[in-house]
């Protein structure tokens, strides 16, 4: 449990921050933020066998090739590095059970474990694990 003083301090700090924000921005025009166009990641993904490519196209591509989804993009080595560091089994578990926006089974209801592992390896540019 956090110290009581922190709990008391945080509301005061936020109220002061809010007051400052208000004093500086009341008459300002509404903020319109243009999201920076996401640069496509450097793609280093290897080609897939035709049957797995078909699975990728219908189940993975709609998130893992569109940066706005927030999903790590296929072949984006930097985005996958911290995920890969968790180990292939963790990534497989996230695929099968779902994780954040990721749907369970990765939207492939008929995939088996080997296919999931191969698709993960493809997107993360890892060596496939058995």
């Amino acid at each position: 449990m956090r110290p009581r003083s922190i709990r008391l301090f945080l509301p005061c700090l936020l109220l002061v921050m809010a007051a400052c924000a208000r004093s500086g921005g009341t008459d300002a025009a509404p903020t319109v933020t243009v999201a920076a166009a996401a640069n496509p990641p450097a793609t280093t993904a290897r080609a897939l066998p035709p049957d797995l490519q078909a699975v990728y196209d219908r189940s993975c591509k709609s998130c893992h090739s569109i940066p706005a989804t927030g999903a790590p993009q296929s072949g984006d080595v930097a985005a996958w590095a911290p995920r890969a560091a968790q180990g292939a089994d963790v990534l497989l578990d996230h695929t099968i059970n779902g994780y954040k926006a990721m749907p369970p089974l990765g939207a492939c209801m008929d995939c088996d474990e080997a296919q999931f592992r191969a698709l993960i390896a493809h997107m993360a540019t890892l060596e496939p694990t058995p």
Binding site: L14, M17, A35, R58, P103, C108, D110, E113
Partner: protein, 458 residues
């Protein structure tokens, strides 16, 4: 222990078959028993077979031979137990994409397994767009119409209301093409069927010309917004509010068609930061409700930025939801919506309910589909969410009676506690639907325990 034994039997049996027959296309191999679960994780099952046909002919042949219960599965974004079965789940993910379109009528036929997220781009290429969309697009087309999934706006019905024709494969493997002139009673029932009539393989949608939307969000006192609600829904094409529980404020969202050619893209990523802030406020200050309310009011009004978005319609409607939750939603008569929401918000504060997700409040036009939640009149959709890792039973049990008081109908894809005895009086055409279901599937092959409870079939 029994589950483990069953898993082992399934593994052993399936492994043996696979060894004899090799890999069967479209049928999951059995290197490991893989359970199906929905997005929130609250529903799951270990089906004997997961099947994804590559064609209607393959599906029809499989249906004729299949034994046991058959349940269709889409994206797994329903929160209720529509899918779980020990027998077979069928995915139409291989039956995906635009089949044909008609520029004169602005109708387009899609394979029913098409994800809603995959409809916007091909429709734009032919100059069309879905008339309205839900706030997420993870669903499959078949799943969305099976549960009357909806967006918001007083002039717009649910996805089901824009279906102008469909193909249904029945339990016998027969194919029925239906619309308002061919098998109209089946067509109307199948526009919202919970997957209880058969497997819908093709859907023809009434669309409109492609268009762009301008989305604006702002924070305002909830009482003010509810007083202005009739005017706001008239003024904007699409309007909704998200009431921040345990506070006095809501985030209002208005989306209007625009001729503005600028593009202000939606920010990438999900809603984790905002949801995380709500969680921290709730977690840290739940025992100090007045402090929590002040904090939430202040932060929402002054410290959170809500950028405008201008883009193609489908890119504006859809959001990334990366914070998993369970959800209960009821549709109450439109005129009762504000009073119902006020009572729910009072209950949250008076009982200090352990939940922090905003309550979504939307407006949907009525239709004439027997099992649609919007059959007969315009309704307000009120959605209660609970973080997936927190218990939802107690929260939903405290709120659900308020919905009953306002003549609410539960969303078929979301959690509720009603069965046939309580549902039948809510739907004037209840028996019409049950008659169609009985005629098409007398053996109840598409019924799992949840559907049997909903329809009162032993």
């Amino acid at each position: 222990m029994s589950l483990r034994r069953r898993e082992l039997f399934k593994l052993a049996g399936a492994a043996g078959l696979t060894g004899l027959l090799g890999r069967v296309p479209g049928v999951a191999a059995a290197t490991r028993a893989i359970a199906w679960r929905n997005w929130s994780g609250a529903q799951n099952c270990l089906p004997a077979q997961r099947f994804a046909p590559a064609s209607e002919a393959e599906l029809a042949d499989w249906l004729r031979k299949a034994r046991g219960t058959v349940r269709p599965v889409g994206a797994g974004h329903s929160f209720s137990a529509l899918v779980p079965t020990d027998d077979s789940i069928v995915s139409l993910s291989r039956l995906s994409g635009l089949i044909r379109h008609d520029p004169a009528t602005l109708q387009a036929e899609f394979w029913a397994g098409t994800p809603m997220s995959q409809m916007g781009a091909p429709l734009k290429k032919v100059g069309q767009a879905l008339v309205n969309m839900a706030d997420i697009d993870y669903q499959s087309l078949a799943g969305a119409i099976a549960t009357s999934t909806h967006g918001t706006g007083p002039r717009f019905g649910s996805y089901s209301s824009y279906v102008t024709g469909l193909r249904l494969l029945t339990a016998s493997g027969d194919s029925i093409d239906c619309d308002t002139s061919r098998h109209p009673e089946i067509f109307n029932a199948a526009r919202c069927s919970l997957g209880a009539l058969g497997l819908v393989t093709r859907v023809r949608m009434q669309n409109r010309k492609a268009f762009r939307l301008h989305s604006r969000q702002w924070v305002q006192d909830t009482d003010e917004l509810l007083e202005q609600f009739p005017e706001l829904v008239r003024k904007h094409d699409h309007f909704e509010l998200n009431a921040i529980t345990h506070s006095d404020v809501s985030v209002a969202l208005a989306m209007d068609e625009t001729a503005d050619t600028r593009t202000l893209q939606k920010e990438a990523g999900g809603d984790g930061e905002k949801v995380g802030m709500l969680y921290r406020m709730h977690h840290e200050y739940r025992n100090w409700p007045r402090v929590r309310a002040t904090m939430l009011n202040t932060i929402a009004k002054h410290l959170i930025d809500f950028p405008d978005v201008i883009d193609d319609s489908w890119k504006v409607f859809a959001n990334v939801r990366d914070q998993r939750f369970n959800e209960m939603e009821y549709e109450v008569p439109a005129e009762a919506g504000p009073a119902c929401l006020r009572e729910i918000l009072r209950k949250f504060r008076s009982s200090n309910i352990d939940s922090f997700f905003p309550i979504e409040f939307r407006y949907v036009k009525g239709d004439d589909i027997p099992l649609s939640m919007f059959q007969g009149r315009d309704r307000c959709a009120i959605s209660i969410h609970q973080h997936y890792a927190m218990d939802y039973h107690g929260v939903f049990a405290q709120i659900e009676p308020i919905f009953w008081k306002y003549d609410g109908r539960p969303h078929w894809g979301k959690l509720h506690s009603l069965n046939a005895r309580l549902l039948a009086p809510l739907y004037p055409k209840w028996k019409d639907f049950l008659a169609v279901r009985e005629a098409l599937d007398p053996q109840g092959r598409f019924l799992n325990p949840h559907l049997r409870s909903l329809f009162g079939i032993a």
